[in-house]
Symmetry: C2
Subunit: 393 residues, 2 copies
């Protein structure tokens, strides 16, 4: 590693996390160089059982648990709680995603922990947040997506025989996790170098994390009573931008929604008449006539395989992409050149795996240097953490 290395070297985080949101938050910090101590029950985070396995270890967890120190203890035992307190005394931040009230019930609430370490910042990730009438409801990511407004919008107008799809990944958990990591660092910036500063208690909810993405829809409802309806693959406020069917049955995403790009696009598809049409020189005019434009584009894409249509549009400097599946991603030359996709040896699985790079990069640190190690086994760092760090405590 050249230069200054990873920025969070020396920042210690205690993770009392399980499943997705809490561990994802802690992993963001670990990928930036923090020392993350993941506390698991003796049987491990249940996430370790998710998805396909090699050598008895989950493939997904190789990424989800990477760059962390893993210790195991029983939170329900006095010994386990004493270890957590001793670790909290030595940590900068703690991240947890139990149901609200659980940590208090087992005697590890924020008041207890901050009495031990007043400078400890505690980030709490939950479905509905730490207060309010729905606080105690059970919440999964899917419910956060439904209530936060994104499921209603992820749909095709007129399709009534299939439910609106999810986006295929645990988007509410992921976004809440990134927000939590960000907020922890905001609090850490305030605390560092200020001996008077106390740690903060941070409350991040899955529902609110999704709701935070709803653009101007909330004030538009308040002012005008408008309720945004789903638009399929189109945008309500820009044209032409859509996903078009090609001759081989594949879909092509095209963004032709700037004045100059629109004219280039019309030239490629052989419709310079539309490119020159006075009505269609501005975005407002194109939005008003979007059906006509979309039909012209799809009349062209339907004559070509997706790869060929993509090549022609790309050559004309028009934003375009087929809908990448994982094979496309894994084999893409740009992903490989930037090491967004990289090979990493996983000693637990005893295989070389493909890992995704963090999407945030720091000068002087290559992507492989950000994956310091793959997910350790349950309790792999008990000796190091309970022995060396806590001095045998």
């Amino acid at each position: 590693m050249t230069g200054q290395g990873l920025p969070l070297a020396g920042f210690r985080v205690l993770e009392l996390g399980h499943y997705i949101a809490g561990p994802f938050a802690a992993r963001m910090l670990a990928d930036m160089g923090a020392e993350v101590i993941k506390v698991e029950p003796p049987e491990g985070d249940p996430h370790r059982g998710w998805g396909s396995q090699v050598n008895g270890h989950a493939v997904w967890f190789s990424i989800h648990g990477r760059n962390k120190l893993c210790v195991s203890l029983d939170l329900k035992s006095e010994d386990g709680r004493e270890k957590v307190k001793a670790l909290a005394a030595r940590a900068d931040a703690l991240i947890e995603n139990f149901r609200p009230g659980y940590l208090e019930r087992i005697g590890l609430g924020p008041e207890v922990l901050q009495a031990i370490n007043p400078r400890l910042t505690i980030a709490r990730v939950s479905g509905y947040g730490q207060d309010g009438p729905y606080r105690d409801k059970p919440a999964f990511g899917s419910i956060g997506e439904a209530m936060g407004g994104i499921r209603h919008l992820t749909a095709t107008p007129g399709v009534t025989d299939h439910p609106p799809p999810r986006c295929g990944v645990s988007i509410a958990d992921d976004i809440a996790g990134i927000y939590a990591a960000m907020a922890v660092l905001g609090a850490a910036w305030a605390t560092k170098g200020n001996p008077e500063a106390k740690g903060r208690i941070i409350d991040v909810d899955l529902v609110g994390s999704i709701f935070s993405l709803m653009e101007g829809m909330l004030p538009e409802y308040g002012l005008f009573g408008w309720v945004r309806q789903p638009q399929g693959a189109a945008l309500p406020t820009a044209a032409p931008t859509n996903t078009y069917l090609c001759a081989d049955g594949k879909w092509l995403c095209v963004g032709g929604n700037s004045d100059a790009i629109y004219r280039r696009l019309m030239k490629v598809i052989g419709r310079e008449d539309l490119g020159a049409d006075e009505r269609l020189q501005t975005n407002i005019g194109r939005c008003a006539n979007v059906k006509e434009i979309d039909a012209a584009i799809e009349a062209w894409t339907r004559t070509l395989p997706a790869a060929e249509a993509e090549r022609l549009l790309d050559a004309a400097d028009i934003p375009v992409s087929r809908l990448y599946d994982m094979k496309d991603c894994a084999e893409d030359p740009h992903f490989r050149a930037r090491q967004t996709v990289m090979e990493v040896r996983d000693p637990l699985l005893d295989r070389t795996l493909l890992h995704p790079a963090p999407p945030f990069r720091f000068d002087g640190v290559s992507p492989p240097e950000m994956v310091r190690w793959t997910a350790p086994a349950i309790g792999a760092h008990n000796d190091h953490v309970f022995g060396e760090l806590l001095g045998g405590k």
Copy 2:
């Protein structure tokens, strides 16, 4: 404001952003209390023209530009560039989302700026990142979503007559923006209180931001050649969790995918036989028989209006939500009680608007205290910033 206030008070950010990703990153920092100086051309960020308007001002931008100081200058003029340099000399971080290479071409590249202020961290948000073969391609958020893998997954198996929908919001820009804000704070933590430390150059790409959410799909492709296919509203690895049609044509999202919740769910729908079925006591068994379980659930939801089915499931402590539209969100008692939805006076629009609270909260700071002001007009803070801050420079 009680207690310690917002954590980023005293942290100064220069935003050379436009449209969504860069300004969204800067707004996260502004919502946490940073002093964000948004630099716009004399005609303003084109985002100011997006969506519905009141009094000549966009409703969405009231949120998108909140808590910022707005100054206007011409980056193509010598005077404008000198002002940017003078501001960079006094800032902790700079966020930009021009096409890669643009800042260098106008003489404001990272080398120039860090020569003036070696401690300045510079976050660069772009479609494909600052290097690699696709670096110079035009990229919109939709393309980042297509290439990052999420558009392929956001689909319903068997539906071939409609394109896979987008999720209705600018998800690639938003996530890249949150990542950029987080990475800026990671660098800021390292710099603070360390006189030796230099500012970092951070590279965040839209494509990689989406790709970072692809769970274990990349190593599973690498190991087994598996290519994850879309699953509609279901999950591939948990059951039952899906979205079901109700008697009034509305959809209901239900998460019954834990052993205990599953049994409660079967009781509510009058199928205790399935709840007791030996095959269905584990997630693996339920995944293998998911069609039978989903059919039983939907046979029940089809007999009831969505609100009534939701009430019955909620009473049995089963994760459930109808697909909230903006009216549901705006009027929900939990959103109101937690001030996730709050009323804010906007002097430019001369209206009281509904604003969404930040989804990250700090103890002692209420949501209304996090919205210090709504988006200012173009150049509203020229006198303050160019006069007082730069001393008339």
